[in-house]
């Protein structure tokens, strides 16, 4: 509408299915390349991170207990919600990229969500199996989720890096705490809004905007996180984080932002083998 003054969105954190500001009261300023658009975003603190981990831990058993079919439908629903907000995402990504590449990225992110949605009730059939042990035993190995996974998403491409890291963690039933880099924070918050309307149980996905460099070490040292996706961490920071992660032997994965493969799912599962005797 010509001359109408717009209403601006407040960008907040996403913890336990709600959108709080940082408990610290901190925010940071994001400006588009041309300086026309400026936004204040919540800058998550160590305590926000702890709250997010607690929410994820609470949500984990329920999410894990859902059928793969159900998780698949929910991931598909996220894709529906992102598709519905496609123009919003394109606008946000275009703040730092060309409109063409923004458009491509949103399409790819949606398709990637659908690709992972389909895995929820299939990855077990590909990476699990019967074991032909030499005795009268039934013996089967199947993958299980690990628990709470901390994700440092690649900052570029902003949306695709985030989706590509988060979706495979969710597939098997893990709960996630994701640190969005400041360059992807706007899209990350809009993505959180899509997640919040996609029947994802509160706490399964938590998204913190702010400084990954500040929060990642706390994440690596947190004793109630089971695994880390460090794809968004610069190589020089990795050794320190891996060292901190060794306290409770967190599993660690790292991929290129464009990697989409079964290993990203498998990396956040544990194989469980069950023996049972056979006999009349």
């Amino acid at each position: 509408m010509e001359g109408r003054l717009g209403v601006r969105k407040t960008y907040k954190l996403f913890i336990d299915g709600r959108f709080p500001r940082s408990e610290s009261g901190r925010t940071f300023r994001y400006a588009s390349r041309d300086g026309v658009v400026t936004v204040q975003l919540s800058e998550a603190s160590r305590k926000d991170l702890r709250m997010a981990v607690r929410a994820a831990r609470r949500a984990y058993p329920g999410w894990r207990a859902r059928s793969g079919y159900n998780r698949g439908q929910i991931l598909y629903r996220i894709a529906e919600m992102v598709e519905d907000r496609a123009e919003t995402f394109i606008g946000q990504l275009a703040l730092q990229a060309t409109i063409g590449s923004a458009r491509r990225e949103v399409s790819e992110a949606i398709d990637l969500l659908i690709w992972y949605a389909g895995w929820c009730d299939k990855y077990q059939q590909v990476i699990g199996n019967m074991n032909p042990v030499a005795g009268p035993y039934f013996n089967i190995s199947t993958p299980e989720p690990m628990g709470v996974v901390g994700v440092v998403a690649p900052g570029q491409p902003a949306l695709l890096g985030l989706v590509g890291a988060l979706a495979p963690v969710m597939v098997s039933g893990n709960a996630a705490v994701l640190l969005a880099s400041s360059s992807q924070a706007i899209a990350a918050v809009t993505f959180a809004e899509a997640v919040a309307t996609a029947d994802v149980p509160p706490g399964v996905v938590n998204i913190l905007t702010g400084s990954s460099a500040e929060l990642a070490p706390w994440m690596a040292g947190h004793m109630d996180i089971n695994a880390l996706d460090l794809s968004g961490v610069p190589p020089e920071s990795s050794p320190t984080l891996e060292e901190a992660a060794s306290h409770n032997l967190k599993r660690i994965g790292r991929w290129d932002a464009s990697d989409r493969n079964l290993n990203r799912i498998a990396a956040f599962t544990e194989i469980k083998t069950v023996w049972h005797p056979k006999g009349r």
Partner: protein, 492 residues
Amino acid sequence: MSADQPVLADSESPPRWEYQESRENPSLAAVRDRYGLWIDGGEVEPLSQKWFPSIEPATEDHLAMVAEAGSSDVDRAVRSARDAAGDWATRPAGDRAKFLFRIARLIQERSRELAVLDTRDGGKPIREARDIDLPLVAAHFFYHAGWADKLDYAFAGVNPQPLGVVGQVIPWNFPLLMAAWKVAPALATGNTVVLKPAETTPLSALRLAEIAADAGLPPGVLNVIPGAGRTGADLVSHRGVDKVAFTGSTEVGKQIRRRLAGTGKPLTLELGGKGAHVVFEDAPMDQAVEGVVNGIFFNQGQVCCAGSRLLVQESVAADFVQRLRRRLLTLRVGDPLDKNTDVGAINSAAQLEKITGLVEAGRSEGAQIYQPPCQLPDRGYWFPPTLFTEVSQSHRIAQEEIFGPVLSILTFRTPTEAVERANNTPYGLASGVWTAKGSRILWMADQLASGVVWANTYNQFDPASPFGGVKESGFGREGGRHGLAAYLKGMG
């Protein structure tokens, strides 16, 4: 518990439970007077100029007139599928996934309507259509959608390729579910389809074609041509069909196998069964009674994997039979649209005649019949829940598939004897094992000659789980990773 100490002294007095009729509204499924064939993305008049009625088995009313595909119609449908095959096979696999996801979603949205449609057209209880058939239909499309772009993972290192045009013939017992079992994996793997639904239940398959069109599925990818046996025969022997998939009777399955002899055409057959429940003395009895009842009276026993034989260990046989008889008294037989109904209508006059004939054979061969008192409606095709005791291995009711609500009860003493008896039919589709002992379940599962073994449960279905038979119950699997193989080059 010994056989001569029945625990249920009052087992013959029927519980007096009042039910208030709760009838689903039949107009939820709007039915037109006439349905044509679905070819090349739209409804067309049959070149055969022939039409046949689809009858509501609960009332014997004509639901609709449906086009019968003649050989030139079959030819037209196969050509339409052939024309669509190239683009469908070569377009991005992710697109195929998206089409199937869309179809799954539309089925979820329209499931109440579709449940009513199958109940009216086929006679099954609305409770089953609503709670079992339709959720599974949607799930099958959803599950296979996800495979469409992951075939390289399902079969690593072989570069899986579609076969081309698939001719599929399905039965009337689960009209839309059987369509889903056939269509979803075929499309996911990149094939195009000509589907022939059963002549007594063509309506939901035609509606599936409409739904697929609403989902934007390209014309020709899914064609639906109603008709009877002749249409099916024309389809499976058409030279333009690259693969045949059939679900139905063992007799027709063998005819198809003969017809395809020497053609090299891939074939999968999901045929009849004579499923055995094996109930051991340590089984959880109430649970086993429920499982056996569900196993044989689900869908009026018109289920290829119905548990139509009960093998119960001698030490608990008398007690178990009494429990079963008492449970039968609470089954509600009648109007399939009533949500209270447990046992609905038999699908057709012909099927009723077949059931009646075999039950007569059971009587005349010396088995003891039990049927609970129940009032059957005046119109429609009905058969009461039926138990036979004193059944011997050689009786026809212990060997032949009845495809009706009739359970033949035999006994055994040892696990080995149970296995021998369970395996003593030409069939091998599904079996049930009821025991508290885990090791025995797994031992039995190894010994039983059947494609599916259910332990302490029965009639479980899931798109992720392969289903299919051994011996004369057919070959090939539907569902799961293994079910995909049936629709890929060099694998089925």
